[in-house]
Symmetry: C3
Subunit: 375 residues, 3 copies
């Protein structure tokens, strides 16, 4: 049980709050690279801030404030240029550092560009890794974007799944450390708002106090027969979590079932009313660690798990009992005999709603399409 004050401390994510400050010390996945094949601009809301991710025509990716500094028009409806993002309203253009680099009408009156030089908009660093675009909203110098080992595994079919979940991120994170998952989490504090389960990551990116973006990165090793396999583009899709007919949460898939636990606690779980027992010590440990990290940040130190040494940031291993499979592979026959993996051949069991084209790409990568068409 927590006091109302401590519950607020653990759940507020805005700029200027203790937890908001802590979470800003980490890199967060906010988009997938492949999303930009269809549309060059994606509006995102992270840690209570309204932003847009864009990729300009030169390939530079930027993450800047969503509303134009001129008269607050919505840059999600802007246009990408050779360099930068142009507002659809009066053409003010920004680069990825937040500089205003064009003001077409104003330049006629003010050829020296005095107003232009004065304007700065919020801009944050973005890096690409493992098919994801990662954002850092904290103070400089930024830590390194972790190079988790699975990101280098070969011969894998990777997919990225987003889900917009209407509750505070901590409910998901506490779910990961409860009795079932306690042992693993105990030895692995590297991901304050993430979770690694042997072949998939889940990150719980705080959107604001009452919403989060669940990001799943799933690796499935192709059978030995299909090796060598190189994935051209990592597909990304958004999973629905509610049945539009009944209004009920979807419960058919693994992460969907978890989501019911998270959102069932309300937008922000009222931890003043919980009844924790001896089996909930993982929860207590997690909170204790978070409060310790908040103290560290308050006193100007790094919280746990940041990587600042480039040499240490090479294929960083995470606890993983199934590592042999992901690094060595198995045959299709072995897949079919495997109690757990055999099911993955039939259905993407993590999330409901896999689009047909992703399913087809997966089956092709696994050599299942060829097989069925040759029958």
């Amino acid at each position: 049980m927590l006091s109302a004050g401590k519950n607020r401390t653990l759940t507020q994510v805005g700029a200027g709050t203790p937890m908001g400050g802590f979470l800003r010390r980490y890199w967060h996945p906010v988009a997938a690279l492949s999303e930009f094949e269809k549309s060059a601009i994606k509006p995102v809301r992270i840690l209570g801030e309204d932003l847009v991710v864009y990729r300009d025509l030169s390939g530079t990716v930027g993450l800047i404030a969503r509303h134009c500094r001129h008269r607050a028009a919505d840059l999600a409806y802007g246009y990408v240029e050779q360099s930068g993002l142009r507002c659809h309203y009066h053409g003010w253009t920004y680069d990825e550092k937040g500089h205003c680099i064009a003001q077409p009408f104003e330049e006629k009156f003010d050829p020296q560009g005095r107003l232009k030089k004065r304007i700065r908009t919020a801009a944050y660093p973005v890096q690409e890794k493992a098919g994801l675009l990662w954002a850092y909203l904290g103070p400089q110098p930024a830590p390194l974007l972790p190079d988790w080992e699975p990101f280098s595994w070969k011969n894998g079919f990777v997919q990225i799944v987003f889900a917009e979940v209407p509750c505070n991120w901590l409910q998901a994170q506490e779910n990961s450390i409860d009795p079932v998952h306690f042992e693993w989490m105990h030895e692995n504090w590297s991901l304050p708002n993430g979770f690694f389960l042997g072949e998939h990551f889940e990150w719980r990116v705080p959107v604001d106090d009452e919403n989060m973006l669940s990001v799943t990165w799933s690796f499935i090793r192709v059978p030995k027969e299909a090796e060598p396999y190189e994935q051209k583009s990592i597909p990304a899709w958004t999973a629905p979590i509610r049945d539009p007919q009944t209004g009920r949460w979807i419960t058919s898939h693994v992460i969907n079932q978890d989501i019911v636990a998270w959102v069932g606690q309300g937008r922000i779980a009222d931890r003043t009313k919980e009844n924790l027992g001896a089996s909930d010590r993982g929860i207590s440990l997690l909170r204790k660690q978070l409060f310790k990290d908040l103290s560290a940040v308050a006193s100007g130190k790094d919280p746990k798990g940041l990587i600042r040494d480039a040499k240490a940031n090479r294929q960083v291993e995470l606890p993983n009992i199934g590592r042999k499979l992901y690094t060595e592979g198995m045959t299709l026959a072995q897949y079919r005999e495997h109690p757990f993996w055999s099911r993955l051949l039939e259905d993407f069991r993590w999330h409901y709603g896999q689009p047909e084209e992703v399913r087809r790409e997966f089956r092709e990568a696994m050599g299942l399409e060829a097989e069925s068409s040759s029958r």
Copy 2:
């Protein structure tokens, strides 16, 4: 016209409010038995409290708080056991008295079950009658669940219709006592938030201050040719009240038309602005009686209409000018000549949206299907 304070007194239904206390002295229909043929758990909100009704595998019906006492997971997504309702999150299981009877993970650490013994959740008595499940949220000893006479009528096709209406319950109740219905209501105060019209009941179960659940129990006597008729299961359905295309309230059926009057007054009617005339004395009488009942409850007495004498609770008659028909019956030919009842053969005139399967069951009970298939 009422003062703002009196309007609040008459419309607040939460625990601890005068009207909330008064309404808690009565049994309220909250679900239909037949709903549990499809799904064992139904979330309900009554008098501002979030609850679930469930029927466990032994057939026991319970009504308990919707959120688990452990960490507030949503029991609407739980599982019914041989005895009790199990939370989907960590398996805490409750019986219909609100006792926690299992805590799987915790029991490993605490085999004596100390935490389990300490936990109690809100639990309320439920009784079944006339195909409905009735809840009592008030203090003990509870009054008797009224055994209204129509519940014992023979040879009837009964159906139960729910409608979720976005306004305070009192607007519906005041509608029933206005000029058109005044005479009847005057002699019949037994149903503080209900209404009986000769062959159907309507109850206006307060969901919270701004919403109510309209529950209709409709009896239609089968023609003499179809006697004897015994209904196996009383169907229940939920009537839509708004046209999704236009956003307008549906006005094609009788109770739908009433609903337009209720919701048209706003979520909570502003009675400080009304202009009552001599024709509105029913309204004034109703409010006077309600204030009298609030005083009775405040001074520890029973409000009007409670039944506590089992001998008096046998097929309790209500004023009914059409009683002869419902107890004696008529032939199909007489039905067809009847100015009012003839229309019921064609359409369920009370509520829009009767499902096709209910219509078919009705026509079979009435002997109309046999007739049309023999043509």
Copy 3:
């Protein structure tokens, strides 16, 4: 940049606010005459007031408060009578002056109609012109409803398009005076919340502080071959502005693109954060003029642009560089060669969503249907 207080002054439209008082000095289009061919009653919300426009069986048009003075039932579900609008609840009937002219139940108890005589509901003048119904919510004497010259143009196909836009009206008006439109606006202050572009009008009728009704009146001259053309009824339709699939604003048509600029600034633009430059002097001039008008109204004077002299109110000209075309016409061949007008033959470029029947009427009027069917 404005102070928060000045921003509030410019954007609040309710009764009793300075801007609400100013806007109430003008006539506002609130409905189209042809809407009343299908339905006799239209609920509208203007300047923060909930009202209904109705046309009774004698043809009189009224604009009165939406909620009945008896017990607040919704008159949008009432019935029009030979004279006046009758409430569906207890039959109270109102005329276009706001008098209560019938109280069926009450009259039995109070044959002298004392209550009836006492009741007055809000009622505002309405006038018809150019296929539109115009409302005046200000103090008497009302100014004249302007007789803009285009309303008298001959041989035109006119259509009226409504769009419900979820932002304050001033964002639309400021959009019209920004760099692109500045020159025109400078010489033409006649329309405080409207805009004339040579062949179409746009009015931005304030619904409340956070919503507006965009009303477009579009004139297209038929080709000389189709003259003389007389339009029997001016069609009116409501344009969707958001794609229901993606949730994104529609951007395919001209006014839709403008709407993205308006709503992108938020419900009420935060003008304390804007960065105006030399190219934004139109914005400053507009605000200056508005503040001047607010002062005029506060000191009991007329704001700019009211017409009170009937002689001056005859086909009032507005600046119009394309006036020759609209008054003299051109041939179909000339249309097809015209860089701008040729496109209008293919698509109604102002608003997305033109209904098929309006498109057919337009093509018939233009002589395009005959042409295509003769091929």
